[in-house]
């Protein structure tokens, strides 16, 4: 139930005082309510839960974490071969 998935805003739209957007998730596009992330703009990535964007993905933080993890993956590759594959 607390599932939220990341999607990219294609087009922000304003209708009757409500801010929404068309958001792309892989190959699917859905309308998403932007009431909780009023600062979101075209091109931004948002986490979406039950039709609402609940956060604007912090790209800088995401890249920093991913970079660290990547580096770690490289160094530890040898060690990792000692444990079984992920299914």
């Amino acid at each position: 139930m607390c599932l939220a998935i990341p999607g990219q805003i294609i087009e922000v739209q304003e209708m009757g005082g409500l801010r929404s957007a068309r958001v792309r998730f892989g190959g699917i596009v859905r309308r998403v309510n932007l009431s909780f992330v009023p600062e979101a703009a075209n091109g931004d990535y948002v986490m979406v839960h039950v039709g609402f964007a609940i956060s604007l993905i912090d790209r800088l933080e995401a890249e920093r974490t991913y970079q660290l993890l990547q580096e770690m993956g490289g160094i530890e590759e040898e060690l990792a071969s000692a444990i079984p594959d992920l299914p």
Binding site: M1, C2, A4, P6, G26, N33, V50, A62, L69, G73
Partner: protein
């Protein structure tokens, strides 16, 4: 998909698992709170890659599983009324009440509609002024602002034919109850990343201080979960208890302020019954007085019920991390996703269903 695929990368997950194995020198018991996290652990078999002395127990973070039997019974009672359209998240339909479930009620002719978003209930209310629309508003803090928005929007539009049957639960009071219990075994928590996306981290700071227990706010993908476990193991091995945030791409310390505002405008904190766990003080939400006309309990003058779980269902112990689903004598036999005895066998986030779907039903045939 960006921000999803990279957190499923095998070489990173394996490197993290290797470091966890290297750093774990003594037995530890960790709990992932959220059913979504349990689901990932089972789906990818993450626990098989962890050291044998590192045990993951599964928490109560499955809203469908902890929604009280009484709420399901009330929803079924309302759905049976010819003037009512009951709108619910799909997960709730197969959850057994004391005598039936919403799916069967629908099969018997009740107007039960499945929705993905609570705003759909508002749309139905707008288009069907001749019917009474009841939205079964369940969930944790992640879902509460969206459900609150449905009530807020209905009030703003002056819609009088929509009401909410509310069963909202809050995570921090449940962690507090688990930690205060004499049977507690948990030494570190992975806090639910999407609940914290809304609420921020401050509530977890006081839990860390009060119980000297490490808490890491974690995401939902294999890499997120391994990284969260590694952060907990590092703390435990060093004798530390801190609050850390692994899910920085979505969670900030203060959380989502506009979402918190709508939530507190519409709901107030109240005592709440959790299925299997009983009443936990100040662990739920109810509609504020200003929204009394949107409260299905008041609108339909529903009687307070009190019913019992099937005696052979051990979901209470499963939800507290005291037993594994496979410890249950009827698991996979008389209790299956098609014919569930307890709620954790129904929801995709329920621990029993996760074990059942992902190779863990080692029962005799």
């Amino acid at each position: 998909m960006k921000y999803l695929d990279e957190y499923r990368e095998e070489h990173i997950a394996k490197a993290l698992a290797a470091e966890i194995n290297q750093r774990t020198t003594q037995p530890w018991v960790l709990m992932e709170i959220c059913g979504g996290q349990t689901h990932t652990i089972m789906r990818y078999g993450l626990d098989d890659l962890l050291p044998a002395n590192l045990e993951l127990v599964h928490g109560p973070g499955c809203p469908v599983c902890v929604t009280p039997l009484e709420t399901i019974d009330k929803a079924i009672e309302l759905a049976a009324r010819p003037d009512v359209i009951l709108v619910s998240y799909g997960d709730m339909l197969r959850v057994p009440g004391s005598r039936s479930d919403l799916f069967r009620a629908k099969a018997q002719g009740a107007d039960v509609r499945i929705t993905y978003s609570p705003m759909e209930a508002v749309t139905i209310a707008r288009s069907r002024p001749d019917r009474k629309i009841v939205f079964l508003a369940i969930g944790f803090e992640t879902t509460a602002p969206a459900n609150a928005m449905a009530a807020w929007q209905a009030k703003r539009e002056g819609l009088t034919n929509l009401s909410l049957l509310v069963s909202h639960v809050l995570v921090p009071p449940a962690i507090r109850a688990l930690m205060a219990s004499s049977s507690n075994r948990v030494q570190g928590f992975i806090a639910p990343g999407h609940v914290c996306t809304i609420m921020g981290c401050s509530e977890y700071d006081s839990l860390v201080q009060d119980f000297q227990v490490p808490i890491v706010v974690g995401g939902f993908e294999p890499v997120d979960l391994f990284q969260s476990v590694l952060m907990l193991v590092k703390q435990l091995e060093a004798g530390e208890a801190k609050l850390e945030n692994q899910y920085v791409r979505s969670v900030s310390y203060q959380g989502n302020l506009p979402a918190q505002k709508i939530m507190t405008d519409v709901f107030e904190i109240a005592d709440q019954k959790w299925r299997g766990l009983g009443v936990i003080p100040q662990s739920g939400l109810r509609l504020r007085k200003e929204y009394a006309s949107y409260d299905a309990n008041l609108k339909f003058e529903l009687q307070e019920l009190c019913v019992d779980e099937p005696a052979e269902c051990i979901s209470a112990q499963v939800l507290q991390g005291l037993k594994k689903p496979t410890d249950c004598p009827v698991f996979g036999m008389r209790c299956t996703p098609e014919n569930p005895l307890g709620a954790p066998m129904v929801s995709s986030e329920g621990a029993c269903a996760a074990y059942y779907h992902y190779r863990r039903h080692s029962v005799a045939v």
